[in-house]
Amino acid sequence: MLLRVYALILVRKLNTMSLTSSTIGRKVAMALSGLFLVVFLTQHFTINFISVFSENTFNEISHFMGNNPLVQFILQPILIFGVIFHFIMGFVLEIQNRKSRVVQYNMYKGSANASWVSRNMIWSGAVVLSFLGLHFYDFWFPEMNYKYVEILPLDPNRYYEEMTHKFHDYLRVILYVISFGFLALHLFHGFASSFQSVGVNNKYSENIKKFAIAFSVVIPLGFIFIALFHHINSL
């Protein structure tokens, strides 16, 4: 059944109307964009982690990612679209959900039947979003400025320097640590939840959930480790 569903997605053009207008369609879109971001996060983590071992390899990969036309002009726009789509859809759903209960309860015991993380995805998401603002300010805008505005000469060895320089500032490191804490919370619920949203709930779900939870803890901790590593190194 599930295989047939995804085979159909591949062969037919996506019915964009029902995918963005019905509750289930939106939910699936939310989950697919979330899963896409998880894949991106894994890739981003791998590259960052290399900086811990080898300055040269990190520079090489960064240079490749920053100058390969496929990455720059195809994958990067898809990623930016994915992020924007994900958080806008998140806000749209949040507004729709708030409208579904006009009069609030005087007493509502949310913790009796659902986890804190699952009830506060919009807040963990909002923290991650503001982190993305900082992150763009730190790396993406300077990068774009360097390459496309001032059109400075190519320098394949500048990336490691630039990055470690940023992590010298302890305030920035603290903000990174807090943000990745919230990303962990976001993924703690979101990653496993996205499988349920796209209709996967079967005998593998227990293991998927274990994997998703391990991922949501290990990857953000890894990012935190990298930030601390470069900070301590720069002292």
Binding site: M1, L2, R4, V5, L8, I9, R12, L14, N15, S18, L19, S22, T23, I24, G25, R26, K27, V28, L93, Q96, N97, K99, S100, R101, V102, V103, Q104, Y105, N106, M107, Y108, K109, G110, A112, N113, A114, S115, S118, R119, M121, H189, S193, Q196, S197, V198, G199, V200, N201
Partner: protein, 248 residues
């Protein structure tokens, strides 16, 4: 037991409601919650106060009529029970109990604790049935072999009594557990598969039109459902819906 009850009072759908406080004495721990409400109403009538309107019918956990949001939870603190199956022994002497109607845009208050759940009926009417030809040549259901596993799952889904606790509990007032139980109950059986595509499309469309919220997989519905309807059904509905909308 002596208790303090804080109850939502609202004269009619248009009136502005508010919480009222009523003390009640000598409540037996063996009473059901609804019996306690009956005693309270007798007491109120004795004082010339309008009795509290609340829904109930079977009083044995099968009709789904009794609603009430008790101390912040649908059907109160107990699990796998309706309000009529909730006993006063779950509370302690001296407790203050907050009693509110089920709240959702799609469940407007009629009076006090009674809400209009006809939105569920309209979702059901949109596709929660099998149109069989009963002209005399219908195949005997018992002659159609059905996988035991599927039959069990369909039966579990069919246990939904349409009480609305899932909606009342959900932070998004989403009706997905209810609708998915109704979709699954048919989707798993050969008789229901014939109309599966239209059913899921129409029921979800009606669900959205009624103004229920969107599922965010918090799982609160599954915990509060008196019939233990599983989230597995929501995943099944999502699959069915995806398949149906792509098939067009």
């Amino acid at each position: 037991m002596n208790l303090t009850l804080k109850v939502w009072r609202q004269a009619n759908a248009e009136a502005k409601g508010r919480m009222e406080t009523y003390p009640i004495a000598d409540v037996s721990p063996d009473m059901s919650f609804l019996e306690m409400m009956d005693v309270l109403n007798e007491q109120l009538m004795g004082q010339g106060i309008d009795p509290i309107a609340f829904d109930h019918d079977c009083r044995e956990g099968i009709c789904g009529m009794c609603s009430m949001f008790i101390n912040g939870e649908a059907h109160g603190p107990d699990r796998l029970v309706t309000t009529c199956q909730l006993h006063m022994r779950k509370f302690n002497d001296g407790d203050t109990i907050t009693i509110e109607p089920f709240r959702a845009k799609a469940f407007p208050v009629i009076k006090d604790l009674t809400v209009d759940r006809s939105s569920f009926d309209r979702v059901q009417q949109a596709g929660g049935f099998v149109s069989v030809n009963t002209s005399g040549n219908t195949q005997d259901a018992n002659s159609i072999p059905i996988d035991k596993h599927d039959a069990d799952k369909a039966f579990d889904a069919a246990a939904c009594i349409g009480c609305g606790a899932c909606v009342a509990t959900c932070k998004n007032a989403s009706a997905m557990l209810f609708v998915s139980a109704k979709v699954s109950q048919y989707a798993l059986l050969p008789q229901g598969k014939v109309e599966a595509t239209d059913r899921v499309m129409n029921m979800v469309k009606q669900m959205d039109e009624e103004g229920f919220g969107n599922c965010t997989n918090t799982g609160a519905c599954e915990v509060e459902c008196p019939k233990g309807i599983s989230l597995e059904n929501i995943a099944r509905m999502n699959r069915e819906y995806l398949y149906a909308s792509l098939k067009g």
